[in-house]
């Protein structure tokens, strides 16, 4: 591939051009970070409200319960509870993980790590951020409609999500917001794909790219292909709600037409299953790199890891039916989806094994990015294994729509992505903001988060095994759930602990931004291209486009001269 050098633009001068309407991928990445952190907070508070209602039914929510729910004396009412779990899921997936992992790290890291000066399409990049903001506004607006926000679960199955189950305009606005966000993410995806293919620095073959870029690139490919599928589903749902079409309307409550609610489920999960891989791939990439950097040796089987991530990307398109085992699909279809789902184990085991191989015989430093990466190893190992129960049809018939599923996807999606995201923030803080975070606070943040997180999600696996089903305002209505009350209370206390731990992060982050220790150019002593330029990165990234001469994980080479245990990607590989 011939190499193409982007021009060095003049630095923007006005406040608006520098911080609000910037074309610079680094600024846009940071904008996505603020956006994502804001919604992470909103989604987190919603989670705490859900947990409060589950552990202490009938008790007013502390602090602002009285203000939000004056009619019930501060107690969360059942219809609000439905909105809470709906929006918690929606916000965490689309408005927290997507902006932070894909919007922030994708934007910030890709050009820097491949040696480019910016994305292929900076204006489309800026547009994708502001479209995401528009989507956020529409979503928040939906909360202030007369009948309230969407309350049909983040999966929004018809006919609950049609006018039959959700008469208000809140559900329509929710669907519209998701569609708009899909447009934003698709724009971003096209940008990332083109950038990785065409703007890699000379000498950087695909397997010389850091695995972080692999993860982000594969995510972008899945996004570009499958977001339009969700878009189509959203449009058809909006048509049903607003223009009187009958795509998903059925049953006695529908006045005519013979639509099929299950069609929506198929369309939704054709998107939905790749979506969960979209959410985890960046974290897998980041962890693969960080484990190598902090073990001071190359990523074990890096090429195999890249290829495994690619095969998981491909296989993820074939397995969506395992979300629908209880919908009485034909037995052949059911069995096929089970078998295909099992095949994903193979590449997953390969790259997981490679993670262990990376730290094996390493010389491990336990800085906070490494602690969080090791945390991902733990939670993803556990969460991934619990997926086996759900991919098997007979066990899934018992476990479907119980808290076992909730525990599974929170371990794999929430815990792994959250820990991976924190690892990324602590790691790239110097390059993004030119300051270092406080290590002591970071370690406290890690341990308390791990403690709380495992309490919450292991607890959920247990109550799910005990049969507790999902989306219940008050589970104690049922005799068979009575004995799980103390475990539910334990989960809530763990969640509160986990929420409390985030204050260590917030304080650390804000303090670092205001008075943090100034960072060196390469505080972690690693050789990927972003560490060859000053911290924080200048607006043009590279004064001269680097020429890549070796891989991204050249650490611990015994032939390196004294005092140095890594090489930059721009240095010739030291061989015997």
């Amino acid at each position: 591939m011939a190499f193409y050098e982007q021009h060095i633009h003049e630095a923007p001068k006005t406040f608006l051009k520098k911080y609000i309407f910037s074309f610079d991928h680094k600024v846009i990445g940071k904008q996505f970070l603020w956006y994502g952190i804001f919604f992470l907070g909103v989604g987190g508070i919603m989670a705490l409200m859900i947990r409060w209602a589950l552990a202490f039914p009938g008790v007013a929510f502390p602090l602002f319960g009285q203000f939000l729910f004056p009619e019930t004396g501060g107690v969360i009412p059942p219809d609000t509870y439905s909105m809470l779990f709906t929006l918690h899921g929606t916000i965490m997936i689309f408005y927290a993980i997507t902006p932070i992992l894909i919007g922030c790290f994708g934007n910030f890291c890709i050009p820097l790590m491949i040696g480019a000066r910016d994305m292929a399409f900076p204006s489309a990049n800026m547009l994708s951020f502001w479209v995401a903001v528009a989507s956020g506004v529409v979503l928040l607006a939906s909360l202030f409609t007369p009948l309230g926000g969407a309350a049909g679960g983040w999966t929004s199955y018809p006919t609950l999500s049609t006018l039959i189950g959700s008469p208000g305009v809140g559900q329509t606005l929710w669907t519209l917001a998701i569609f708009i966000l899909g447009v934003s993410s698709t724009m971003g995806a096209i940008n990332y794909i083109t950038t990785v293919i065409t703007l890699r620095a000379p000498g950087m073959g695909y397997f010389d790219m850091p695995l972080t870029v692999w993860g982000l690139w594969l995510t972008a490919i899945l996004n570009a292909i499958f977001l339009p599928v969700l878009g189509a589903g959203c449009l058809l749902l909006i048509f049903d709600r607003v223009f009187g079409t009958h795509f998903f309307l059925a049953g006695a409550a529908a006045t005519s037409g013979n639509g099929d609610p299950i069609l929506f489920q198929h369309v939704f999960w054709i998107f939905g299953h790749p979506e969960v891989y979209i959410l985890i791939l960046p974290a897998w990439g980041i962890v693969s790199d960080l484990l190598s950097f902090f073990s001071r040796k190359p990523a074990f089987g890096a090429k195999a890891t890249a290829l495994s991530m690619t095969s998981i990307t491909i296989l993820s398109t074939l397995v969506y039916g395992h979300h629908m085992f209880t919908t009485s699909m034909s037995p052949l279809l059911t069995q096929s989806f089970m078998t295909l789902t099992m095949t994903i184990s193979i590449p997953s085991t390969v790259f997981f094994f490679n993670w262990l191989g990376t730290i094996w015989r390493g010389s491990i430093r336990f800085d906070s990015p490494m602690l969080f990466s090791l945390g991902v190893l733990f939670v993803f190992g556990l969460g991934g294994l619990t997926g086996l129960y759900l991919g098997t049809v007979t066990t899934d018939i018992y476990l479907h729509d119980t808290y076992f599923v909730v525990g599974h996807f929170h371990y794999t999606m929430a815990a792994s992505v959250l820990l991976g995201g924190f690892a990324g923030i602590y790691f790239w803080m110097p390059k993004m903001f030119g300051v270092m975070m406080n290590e002591c606070l970071a370690k406290i943040h890690f341990w308390i988060t791990m403690l709380g997180l495992n309490g919450v999600f292991m607890g959920m696996l247990l109550v799910g095994y005990g049969g507790m089903h999902r989306r219940l305002y008050n589970p104690f209505w049922y005799e068979f759930l009575q004995k799980l009350i103390p475990i539910n209370t334990f989960i809530t206390w763990s969640a509160i602990l986990m929420g409390f731990a985030q204050f260590f992060f917030l304080y650390n982050f804000i303090h670092a931004l205001i008075k943090g220790k100034k960072a060196e150019d390469n505080p972690w002593n690693v050789g990927t291209l972003e560490w060859t330029i000053p911290s924080p990165a200048p607006h043009y990234n590279f004064k001269e486009i680097p020429v890549v001469k070796c891989g991204p994980h050249e650490l611990g080479n015994p032939l390196l001269s004294e005092g140095k245990d890594f090489q930059y990607q721009t240095e010739e590989l030291v061989k015997a």
Binding site: G251, A252, S328, S345, L385, G466, R471, P475, Q482
Partner: protein
Amino acid sequence: MLFFDTAKAATTDLNPVQQMSLWDRIQPPVDISANGHKIMDLFNYTTFMVIFFFILVCIGLFGFAYFYSHKRNKKPYYTYGNKKSHKNVGLAFGMAVFILIDCAITIQSNNDLVNTFFKFPKGDDVVRVEIMAQQWLWKFRYPGADNVFNTDDDIVTINDLRLPIDKKVVVQMTAKDVIHSFYLPNVRQKRDAMPGRLSRMWFELKKTGEFDIACAEMCGTHHYIMKGKLTVYSQEDYNSWIEQANKVVKSENDTEDPDLYWGWKWQE
């Protein structure tokens, strides 16, 4: 305020449950079905395998973190992990996981599906019940003395399902408004009840008693109180209940009311 008062009542009425150990608490509800153990046996096998491999992972994770920390191991082992020996170990590990867990549970589960759960019983000795799920209650329909569904003599109940032990039961269901899911925790099974479609499930009960029926698909504000009661009788008690119900069905059923005829022709 009904739901708040009931919640408080539920939480204070804990006495027998209060004594339970953690181990007892996390056990699934008592299995009253003939085939539920197949699901739980597979669950347990998977758990043994999962724990085994997770222990290996933890040995790797914590062991390597301890023995190969910077303090203990100053010189890292410079390898790309692409030597033949590395690849072989990886392959062996992957194959072990795939064969011992994935293949084993897929084959077992498939067998259970084909030979048990998807093999619907036929014939006269089968108890058939139609279920209409709606916001927010369960309606059950027995065919009555004429053994035909949706006729004047059908026994129709609300939230009240009564079944005999040692007889195969097939339930056929649909939903009136939104998607619900008929969930019998003590039978280890659930099936979605969807508007515009018929779905079905079969099971055989082995223990008498009263058990919960729950809805396992979000169906609106009162999804959480969509509770039914499953009463399992001995065969004699069931027969006398049916006899009794047949006697009063003429006076119970308002044959002028079209809503009575929510049933359908049974699909074999």
